[in-house]
Symmetry: C3
Subunit: 385 residues, 3 copies
Amino acid sequence: MFILYGIGALLLRLGMAIHAAGMVRSKNSSSILIRSLADICLTTLAFWALGGAILFSSGKILDPHLLFSLNSAFFLVCVTLVASGIVTGIASERSRFLPMCAVSVLLGALLVPIVARWQIGWLMRLGFIDAGRVSMIHLTGGLCGAVGAVMIGPRSGKYNRDGSSNGIPGHSVPLAAIGALLMFVGFIPTILGMAANGPMDLNPAGNVLLAAAAGGAASLLLCHWRYGKADVHLLIVGFLGALVAISAAPNTLNIWAVFIGAVAGLIAPLAALHIDLIWKIDDPTSGIAIHAVSAIWGIIAAGAFTAAPFAARMKQLGIQIMGLLAIAALSIILSGALFFLLKATLGLRAKEADEFDGLDLAEHDIGAYPDFQQTTIKSYHLREA
Amino acid sequence: MFILYGIGALLLRLGMAIHAAGMVRSKNSSSILIRSLADICLTTLAFWALGGAILFSSGKILDPHLLFSLNSAFFLVCVTLVASGIVTGIASERSRFLPMCAVSVLLGALLVPIVARWQIGWLMRLGFIDAGRVSMIHLTGGLCGAVGAVMIGPRSGKYNRDGSSNGIPGHSVPLAAIGALLMFVGFIPTILGMAANGPMDLNPAGNVLLAAAAGGAASLLLCHWRYGKADVHLLIVGFLGALVAISAAPNTLNIWAVFIGAVAGLIAPLAALHIDLIWKIDDPTSGIAIHAVSAIWGIIAAGAFTAAPFAARMKQLGIQIMGLLAIAALSIILSGALFFLLKATLGLRAKEADEFDGLDLAEHDIGAYPDFQQTTIKSYHLREA
Amino acid sequence: MFILYGIGALLLRLGMAIHAAGMVRSKNSSSILIRSLADICLTTLAFWALGGAILFSSGKILDPHLLFSLNSAFFLVCVTLVASGIVTGIASERSRFLPMCAVSVLLGALLVPIVARWQIGWLMRLGFIDAGRVSMIHLTGGLCGAVGAVMIGPRSGKYNRDGSSNGIPGHSVPLAAIGALLMFVGFIPTILGMAANGPMDLNPAGNVLLAAAAGGAASLLLCHWRYGKADVHLLIVGFLGALVAISAAPNTLNIWAVFIGAVAGLIAPLAALHIDLIWKIDDPTSGIAIHAVSAIWGIIAAGAFTAAPFAARMKQLGIQIMGLLAIAALSIILSGALFFLLKATLGLRAKEADEFDGLDLAEHDIGAYPDFQQTTIKSYHLREA
């Protein structure tokens, strides 16, 4: 079954690539997919070369038997690809290609394996609840992406001098929505695979579906209340945020799954707006809100709604927050160190002219849609004079 | 296994969304995907809140354990999403967003669960043959969509004063074809999951594949005979119609699967043309022909080709027709009542100006493809002066 | 499980269709998908009608029980669809529709079943190593496509009088990359299904993933070394080539999987360039390099790196080469005979005017993207005056 769960996680990864491709401008749409391909290759090799040794504490790097011995090792590589895919999306449209390859290596070789090891080590002994390993996949990837977004800076033209934010629409809403739906389909086996070591007497699949539905419905209501219309991107953020949040506790009872999902469906879109408008962190795919913020909510909710007396729940909540802080600190420190190093050496950011031309042309010498006329030759590139 | 079959049904649902997105004009292509997302959320919640209580006659609404207790409940929600997705496609390009949400609730809370309950109740006692539950998924969805299409009316510019019909091409044939192929892939596990309660000593997967192939080949011949060329949309209608038809009796012997599929591959495209040209019911995705018409043929064929003496087969045929009539009557009455109510209150139909601008802009304030030049600013919108 | 592996193979087939659709010009993008649909139908029927009789030596054609009796028969049809899909891609953009239907029939009825039968017959007795049946799927399809590409000739405008080659970019890089990623996802269950009869004590899934990663990374390095940039098409060729190569021996030890994959990631892109620039065989999807060349490398590597003393390995290598030659000869002779016959009767090649207009319009009377302005009315069609 781990093989099938792993294939489900690959479908989730493919959905992330499609979603990200739809969310960027057409001039960067090849670039984001080339990065997804490279990320899949490099993260896998890094996990095999070093990450596995850390996770299984085998002491051997480049272990010739690693992916042979355990079907679960295959599954773990597949979910690590999900974590690294988050960063690819968040850093799109203005980062350079090579430094992003180094980020894939960091996630596959160090960050995800260390957190995975903590989860079966001291966190498990403490009683940290995270059945779907959301802190290992989504929190690490989301925070690494957030650190990257801050260090790389926003896309040119994203923020005006008066502090206001310009929406930079992705080149294909259908592609983004199809990617989000495929992520939804892939999420279910991924979460099941992760929760397979926990108590499986109950049915996580139904719960995940219900939480996603509640999240989508909540963000639909939020949109109608605030804007009087269903906004496709906020709807997607709420829908996917609910899937991330329920990952932390897919075995909770239905009625709580509805609640956890619905709250995630409110928190994630509001966080996406807040990150963009107030914190001015530029995140083309809203990956920080979908993955990091919803993961934090999910971990907290998993502790707060555990079936126990009040005092025990408060204690559990403390454990959850401690675990969150430890994992967040590790993610931010490792990512920050790497991005700092990369910025000082290779340089993180594409030249402004390259950003203007689009990374497809500048870095890969290709146009994504040669047969179609585009609204301006180089797609729009905003800049205040 | 029900989890995997359910994931297969979600792939089928995703294929339907992609197919529908390709079949509408670019100005409505975000709209149809937002509706698919909302439909998935609302149908799931409605099934959980009320539909499950009807289906399992548990007497509890908002049952906190419903999706926990049974893996098959997860699968049933997934196939209910397929039923409601049919209506989303048929009613696209001119219906309003909110009333369509109510339709999702109707299907998830009442129509599909009632038919599902009939199928394990009085229809089963009568000996109604429908191994793949085609009457529960495709007949209900297809007829609900047909009622909707009649009540909403055709898209502006679809029919001329002299009664002739204009073809309104979808904005992306590749997207439509890719969606149809993904539906094909998802159909196999869906049918297997449905038939899993029936006799599984034989191999429905091979049968389904063969019927689809026969259906596609038959509609290919039909196209070449009538038009001298392979028409992609009629080919898709025949191919998918055969998959629907064989759902009713996936356990029939190969040679009959070929026959049932091939006939469906003729009936479905001819029905699609008839519905458009003679009945003047506007159905952008040909969902009525694919789902409702092929389901009727499948149910009848399942009775007619059952392995029994002639008299028993005639009796079986009577049972099949009686079941069909009962389910069709329920679908039409419930859908008709809802659409009537919605028309009298919210209004079913988008304003003509909104239809002209496209629902993406009018209802969701977004353009699907901002980087591409379109053939006219608002895509073509036909109207006789 | 064979059902699930078969569904995985169908996802691989769908990925091939999406990849090919992205690699052709927009004026041929409907055509390629119609052909994929027709190919799926006709290959399935041909396998059922005749191929199964050959493979299982049942002596009955049109066997009414064939796809009933064995789940593995369903799986075998699905992988046969992969073989025939290779030819569809290679022959795109300039071949006529009807002759290509005959090619689907050849592959489904004769070529793949005969090789499959050899593999469980005299090749197995000889000790031919090909756990993932790469010679049955990829070598047959790739060589049949190569014969077709030679007999049909290059697309107009592909080669100049001075012998230089024009790049004819596909209409959608994102579609091509998404298709390639879906192929990757589908490859894993396909290979697992194929290898399921061999020793399964080890974990082929992890191996396949690792080989693909090594192949992608190797072609990334190759691109950077030769061109100073990551070329998306060469990267895809290397990535998919590694998946094909590892199919021959998915049960080899990890460390060899990395080596086999990495070498395939070098050989396949170089072969693609060589076939285009030196041999001047026009292959829009690089299917010959991805499938045929990588299959040859995979079969040879499977023999060369078998765990045995040097003399035994040399003997094994001889057996591998003999098997390769036999299968290649059969593929080339059968395909050559059919293409020769088709050329003499129906004609293989579309009229130049039809090629200029695009096969969508010429053969199927449809435009793939009616809502979008294209860079020239008929997309670019190169021709030296």
